[in-house]
Amino acid sequence: MDISVDFAGINLKNPVFTASGTCGYADELSPFMDVAALGGFITKSISLQPRKGNPTPRIVETDAGMLNAIGLANIGLDRFLDEKIPLIEELDTAVFVNLAGQTIDDYVAVTEKLAKIDAIAGFELNISCPNVKKGGITFGTDPEQIENITKHVKKVAGNKPLMVKLTPTVTDISVTAQAAIDGGADALSLVNTFTAMAIDIETRRPVLANRTGGLSGPAIKPIAVYLVNKVYNEVAKPAGIPLMGLGGITTASDAIEFILAGATTVAVGTASFPNPAASAQIVEGIENYCVEHGISSVKELTGALN
């Protein structure tokens, strides 16, 4: 029984990643699990300049979900190269770096430098973060801009696969998916969070300092599964482009839902907060499912929805 997958030209131990921004730089997970058990690891978004991020409160729990407005807080490219690349070099799993920026030039500058680093397996292009005012969200909803930015980043990504992360808050996600593919994306990941708001009725103010935040967690899972299935059927399968499914994955059963819907890989985000071993447990659970159901390779399950 084989749970390895091929994903945009890389062979992965298994389909399970941790999602960008939800697992620090992996060392935070090590008291709870073996990071090498993962198919892959995605870093927090990296931007050219360091970003302090938003003031607090940056999160608020909602029904079966949470809002976050971290604001892409990150140490910036230079410190990332100095401090984090050595950590990444230690990791025995495929590391994707999540790229953020305000302009196409930003994205290109970051990618160019990182493309040279062997320890990095691939890139995830974040064009869809809802918490940055002049940030990616404008790129993320306009097919023309998606194609354009993808093209520019792909050009400097060297031989590393480029995965484009899609926002769910569009009228037709197949259109944005197609645009990324037209721009040269090697894979697509979906979904990012949904823009949302929680209000404190005592103070009559939004709970988050940033007013709005991105909704993640189990609450959004059924929408994410649908969107993965839609993109798989309408765009990705015909184009032969693999998908990473995410949004509310908490258990192996959730992960398998995404895989059946059309995902080749999955990523675990919010679930790692209450259960930092969630991603490793999901790897095990997928393995068990395959054994119990007589599935010789997890690859057979991608898109196997009847």
């Binding site: 921004g21 939800t22 697992c23 620090g24 935070e28 997970l29 090590s30 008291p31 709870f32 927090k44 302090k52 991020g53 003031p55 607090t56 409160p57 940056r58 999160i59 608020v60 729990e61 909602t62 029904d63 079966a64 979900g65 949470m66 976050n68 971290i70 807080a73 967690g217 189990p218 919010t270 790692s272 907060f273 209450p274 259960n275 930092p276 071993a277």
Partner: protein, 311 residues
């Protein structure tokens, strides 16, 4: 005193030994840690905290939920909740006991009130750095506002046990007598008797906004009074404080103005407690420049030096 940032934390199961209501909204729950947890907690110190998973705990019947919280309690929770310790007892090293003293505020703490002996919860801990005792400390001033009490109660016990000669004085403030999260003595004669502190021979200066017990006024005034009277020397006196942020800011200001070292326990909404999410940012000054940066309350704190904090 240990350094909490040494990744000794882990995930384990804690069993409820006892759960008591010590006031309309205050409860104290004692947990016995399993072997894994006991090992992780061997070096745990006051000021550290743990993340409790309360998602699977039942809600009490509606009529037992404070009316103001009924709506909030309908929310399905998914995240753990951070709590510091009101005490850690290591008498039995394989079955360490921790006390959590909590205030009923929302869906998780309401669920926590229905924990009964025999129930168990998943815990991640010990987390964070904890208080530290600089060499040569002679006076320790513990300044607790409202629900800032638990880690300072713990610190009281800890200092009495480990530094029997140290002069420890507590300051406890709250809106009103009912809001003091202490097991009040039957008839506290003076403003210096709070069961938790008396137990370790620590006198406590009580201040309430309405004067219903202790001095009428803010706990920060009680602190200033004490400093004015006792004129403690910088270098031998340390202030430890925990409570609502405006109070902490005031305590920090007092400490800095008297040039006394001050360790401040901060709180933030935490999604993870272990450095994954960056939700718990605390703005701090950088040594050399005007600029401020964010540290993480869960990893770099929750205890910060008063001098670095930007309130």
């Amino acid at each position: 005193m240990g350094n909490g940032c040494n990744h000794k934390h882990t995930i384990f199961t804690a069993h409820v030994l006892e759960s008591i209501e010590i006031g309309p909204l205050y409860h104290r729950t004692t947990f016995q840690l399993d072997e894994v947890g006991s090992k992780a907690f061997a070096d745990a110190v006051p000021g550290q905290f743990a993340e409790l998973d309360l998602t699977a705990v039942s809600l009490p019947p509606l009529e037992k939920i404070p009316p103001k919280l009924v709506d909030a309690c309908k929310r399905n929770i998914i995240l753990r909740r951070p709590f510091s310790f009101a005490d850690i007892r290591k008498d039995n090293p394989g079955a360490i006991e921790i006390d959590i003293l909590f205030c009923v505020l929302g869906p998780a703490t309401v669920r926590m009130t229905s924990l009964r002996p025999g129930d168990s919860v998943s815990v991640i801990g010990p987390l964070g750095n904890g208080f530290s005792v600089p060499e040569g400390t002679k006076n320790a001033l513990l300044v607790a506002g409202g629900m800032g009490a638990p880690p300072l109660q713990h610190l009281g016990f800890y200092l009495r046990e480990n530094f029997p000669d140290m002069n420890v004085v507590a300051f406890a403030g709250a809106k009103s007598k009912e809001d003091l999260p202490y097991q009040l003595l039957e008839a506290p004669e003076r403003d210096t008797e709070l069961a938790e502190f008396s137990r370790c021979d620590v006198p406590a200066h009580i201040a309430t906004d309405d004067g219903s017990i202790g001095m009428k006024g803010f706990v920060t005034q009680a602190l200033e009074n004490w400093i004015r009277t006792n004129d403690p020397k910088s270098g031998s006196t340390v202030i430890y404080t925990c409570g609502p942020e405006p109070m902490l800011a005031q305590v920090a200001k007092i400490a800095i103005s008297h040039d006394l070292p001050c360790q401040v326990s901060m709180e933030r909404r935490m999604a993870c407690g272990i450095g994954l999410c960056q939700s718990c940012a605390i703005e701090v000054r950088t040594p050399a420049s005007e600029e401020t940066v964010y540290k993480l309350c869960c990893k770099d704190g929750p205890i910060f030096d008063a001098r670095e904090l930007v309130f």
